[in-house]
Symmetry: C2
Subunit: 684 residues, 2 copies
């Protein structure tokens, strides 16, 4: 029976894996780069397009601002990379933005960062998958014609893969990421060679389209605002940069140095690709419009709602490699795959952050247990559900989703960098060694500039994007923040209530003097005999058996059998005119407590253990209800003496299998080392 019902689950969720197969392999830089950089590198697939798209509002002529915007993005990228290299050195334990903000700016700042990051994980999934679908769609039109359906299918697939606990292998990441990076570089090099050396004129498929400017001849403040908005969109290229700083423990030694080097490599690759794609887009006259249906003009008429605006990267690839060429298809496939991998990183990051937040009591404690399948699954399903909701609401349109995306990233950048400034201030206050001090002052300067710059960008993003969707992200952050604050408050209240006073034991902690044991009996059978035997072992001060007279005939025969077997425990019979079981027992226990308030009552309940949930419906229901009620009665302890029926073997096997399960995302987490804790927390 159990075998049969397991089959569909096996197929969908996979065989349970042994925990020791998890391994604790550390990552060399060449593998760490693709593992951590699939998110930031893949953003060059959509960021350049977003820049052009916003500029197009002022007409094609505004495209000539794009190199300046690219320069601004590059400067920002170098700033952020330089800043995070300081984080990596300062927090080799893999302190993410949440920890940096909490430690240096206090719990409220930390919680703000955490809320921002949680929202960001959802958006990473939504944006990356939407963009991946659009890139795939440039090669396979069917996909882009059924965007929402295909995006949802990818979400479902990733969700099942992650519930299944697929082991993240370095190779899985390395191959598509390097193919993607290689492809983009070949495209840039070949494009430059064709354009500059061969003198070819390359035409993007939209090269002969015209754009109807929504605001022709913008100037002054309006133009600046538009350029800032374009820059905000370009900042999408920076999402995911912080990932490496969370993953330092997964690197080979010297961990911090290797992580910092990888971070620099990642930044260099990203900006080169970003600028290269922008340059090629200018050279091949790519035309992107915010509302292509009405604003993109071909042969004098708007292209209409049937038109599909392909991503810049695919338009450029078409111009450079030729439509349908092998390299074009390969690049489209690799781009989509890298974007899906980027989405997958959120599936790992979300539960990991959840476990850290749980440790700090902002989320239910049980989320903290590493590799707890149940808690992990809840996180996965929550993430997938939220992302799917966004995909459906926004029609899997990456442009509309990106409006929500960048707020969270820059909230955590800004707070994290501000925290780092505080960090150096604190260390400078005690550090005497001039060489080290010099180093710290330099680091502080970098982080201060990073905080200033990212804070500025955050303001720009908020101002330029608020009505375009940033408010949704802010709302999401507020919801997460409020929920986590409420949970923390609850835990704190409980912790205070249960805190053990120092000194002599207080009133309710005085050791009770005697214990009165009561074994509940319904019939004489193996489970009750076992319960009686165990109860006798406990040598409590008094021991009696208790039965509820629901049926006088049964009670009479029970009494007779009791005597015939010579059981040396007195049998007490409670009357129950209404055939209830729970109430008479509760009242009896209360009366015992009333007689001698300083004594404890131990209620011993024989229980059957069965293997299937439907069998469970047939047993123990009154025992369960009674236990539930007894827990509310002070001065009582409730003991279950289980009797394992044969069918319980099946459940035991299932439980064992469930436990031998392997949580995904283990590779990037590194071995289970401890985070330093600011305070010891109440635990339950």
């Amino acid at each position: 029976m159990s075998k049969l019902t397991d089959v569909p689950k096996r197929i969908l969720i996979g065989r349970a894996l042994r925990s020791d197969r998890l391994g604790e392999t550390l990552l060399p830089k060449r593998i760490a780069l693709p593992v951590f950089a699939s998110d930031p590198l893949s953003s060059v697939a959509y960021a350049p397009g977003e820049v052009l798209l916003v500029l197009s509002i002022a007409g094609v002529s505004a495209y000539h601002f794009s190199p300046w915007i690219a320069v601004a993005v590059v400067v920002l990228m170098f700033t952020v990379v330089a800043s995070y290299r300081q984080n990596v050195h300062a927090y080799p334990s893999g302190g993410g933005d949440y920890e940096v903000a909490t430690t240096n700016l206090g719990p409220k700042a930390g919680l703000t960062v955490a809320s921002a990051l949680l929202v960001d994980y959802v958006l990473t999934v939504a944006v990356s998958i939407a963009s991946g679908i659009e890139n795939l769609g440039s090669a396979i039109p069917f996909v882009v014609e059924h965007k929402v359906l295909c995006a949802s299918a990818v979400i479902v697939l990733l969700t099942l893969m992650n519930l299944r606990g697929v082991k993240e292998s370095g190779k899985l990441f390395a191959i598509p990421t390097y193919v993607f990076v290689g492809g983009v570089f070949i495209m840039i090099a070949w494009g430059a060679f064709r354009g500059l050396v061969l003198g070819d004129t390359m035409h993007a498929p939209t090269a002969d389209y015209h754009i109807k400017a929504e605001h022709q001849g913008l100037a002054g403040f309006a133009l600046v605002f538009l350029l800032l908005r374009a820059f905000s969109s370009g900042c999408a290229a920076l999402t995911g940069v912080e990932a490496i700083s969370n993953g330092v423990p997964a690197f080979r030694k010297p961990k911090s140095k290797n992580a910092a080097t990888t971070l620099a490599m990642m930044g260099l690759l990203a900006v080169t690709m970003f600028c290269g794609i922008i340059a090629l887009a200018m050279a091949t006259n790519v035309r992107m419009a915010e509302h292509p249906a009405t604003d993109l003009i071909h042969n004098g008429v708007p292209v209409g709602s049937g038109y599909v605006q392909n991503p810049v990267i695919s338009q450029v690839a078409e111009a450079v490699f030729g439509k349908g060429s092998f390299l074009f298809i390969l690049l489209a496939a690799a781009t989509a795959l890298v974007l899906f991998l980027a989405a997958n990183t959120a599936y790992n990051g979300f539960p990991l952050l959840g476990s850290i937040l749980a440790q700090d009591r902002y989320l239910p404690r049980q989320l903290h247990t590493r590799g707890d399948r149940l808690a992990f699954s809840n996180g996965i399903v929550l993430l997938a559900g939220a992302a799917a909701l966004l995909v459906v609401i926004y029609g899997a349109d990456s442009t509309r989703l990106i409006q929500l995306y960048i707020v969270g990233v820059f909230v955590s950048f800004t707070l994290s960098q501000t925290g780092m400034v505080r960090h150096w201030n604190r260390h400078l206050a005690v550090e005497k060694d001039p060489a080290k001090r010099r180093h710290m002052v330099r680091s502080r300067a970098i982080n201060a500039f990073g905080a200033f710059f990212t804070g500025l960008v955050l303001v720009v993003v908020l101002v330029t994007k608020f009505t375009h969707g940033a408010w949704v992200a802010l709302l999401g952050m507020c919801i997460f923040y409020a929920t986590m604050t409420a949970i923390r408050k609850h835990y704190d209240r409980v912790a205070e209530e249960i805190a053990a006073p120092e000194g002599p034991p207080s009133d309710d902690l005085v050791r009770p003097s005697r214990v009165h044991s009561v074994v509940l009996i319904s019939k004489i059978h193996r489970p009750t005999l076992r319960a009686l035997a165990y109860a006798k072992l406990m040598r409590s001060d008094t021991l009696e058996a208790l039965t509820v007279n629901v049926d006088p005939a049964e009670t009479k025969s029970l009494r007779e059998e009791w005597e015939r077997r010579g059981i040396d425990v007195p049998l007490k019979v409670l009357d129950s005119p209404y055939r209830e079981v729970t109430r008479p027992v509760i009242e009896y226990v209360k009366s015992l407590r009333k007689e001698s308030p300083r004594d404890a009552v131990s209620v011993i309940i024989p229980e059957y253990v069965v293997g299937h949930w439907y069998e469970h419906l047939l047993h123990n229901q009154s025992a369960l209800r009674l236990k539930g009620r007894l827990l509310f009665t002070p001065g009582v302890m409730v003991t279950s003496v289980p009797y394992q029926l044969q069918s319980s073997e099946a459940a035991k096997l299932r439980a064992r299998k469930r436990q031998e399960w392997n949580a995904p995302g283990a590779v990037r987490r590194g071995p289970a080392v401890e985070r330093p804790k600011e305070s010891s927390a109440a635990k339950d």
Copy 2:
């Protein structure tokens, strides 16, 4: 908080009632009649129409067979009433058909009867409500125009009333039932007076309609078959006759005699009303067709699908009292009300039968507990759901539903009467007193005739109605039968497995020699200190505290506090490289058992008790999981030491309110006397 969420529930389900208000009042005959007879008496509202409807298939000329069919129904009614009078005398404890069949024919026959009755309860609700809506609709057209909607609304209303635990008062039943009976008798008398004395010609609204016979001039076998089918439909008048035999304990003394008298009165009233209505229908030329839309001709054209065929009783009332007259409206309202009351009886009977079946281990044991709100609610909801499904599928058409109805009734009639024959045989074998023997022989003859006649009708019903819907009822019976057999098998298997052997204790019942107690500790706080204090009280052979090292820093501070407080219980620390809690504990317990297999291990778990389900999500989750796993480990007992947090007060209040609830149907059940049991059953 709890107050707020309670409000909607309070409004819908009502205030909790104290159990002692239930009272144990016994019923005088004048109240018992309406309480038990609303079901059989109300069936005269639809049975006569069904007879005419079937006859119409052979054209209006076939209507002249209707008096003969009425005679057959009357004979059957007298037979059944006479038979059940024997039941009432033989089983004064209120042995229903299920018990009579089980005791005399064995458990399989009993289970067949039970399955039939369960199906019947569902159909009583569906048919009575559908018919009630049709009767109400003859006065209020809106109701019949939205049949399914209105019928579903009545089901929902009755369901809520019954979940609410409305106390059945005799008056509630008496008034509509006596108004209904009185109304029908006034109608018959006034109709007879007008027709026979005044010589008025009364015209039913359909008097000048013609019926297109589907089979003109039927003869021979086909005619006999049709007459038998009409008779089968007329047998709908007999449904519910057996109710009194279940309710003998609710009567005043002499119980059996009063019950038998009430039964006779009920039979007399039913046949008089049935025949009177048939006679009036003939006198006023009521026309009913099976498919009125096509077969009912008015002014030469079929009436079409918009036509609503009113029930015979309302057509006759219109002819006798005049359309829209006060008496017409009153009778329509009383008829509908009595039909709804009839439906309500099923809401009481279904859980009551369920509790008897649970006592015999055919249904989960917890259904047995009298007044268990949870079990009772499940039964109510199941009944309502099944009835609503039928109402929707069959479009709340009483004619189509009745095809399913009669099978179950006659299955239980036949088996019950056969059982009674066996009963008398058994008693005759030992009875010596010639007067008593004569009495018994007479009773046996009555029951034998009853068994023969009802068996014959069962065959007729099966043959004539099988394809018209009886197969659905049979399928339902099979499903109930199979489920209950499976449940009983499970309980029997378990009972066998756990049966305590007689004589010296067998291997697994040898009292273990020592007990090793383990208190699980996560932190030092009041709950753990209380658990430690209680554990010490138990004076087990060895006592140790156990903690799982999930976080070395926390474990270190725990150890330090342990020493500082001078707790005199050794603290054992288990390592957990994967931050798991459950597995290390389980493995440790297993290792203890392996070291000394004859010892028992007592695991003591401190637990928080909170008041809200969402708080519960934040606590005890790992304790719960651990307890679940420990139950599967042999030789272990698991003790919860609860610590009641302040918020638990709310839950305590809720639980108390839940318990002070009053199960409906108590009036007809009578005081809680015991059924004689054939065998003592394993109980859990």
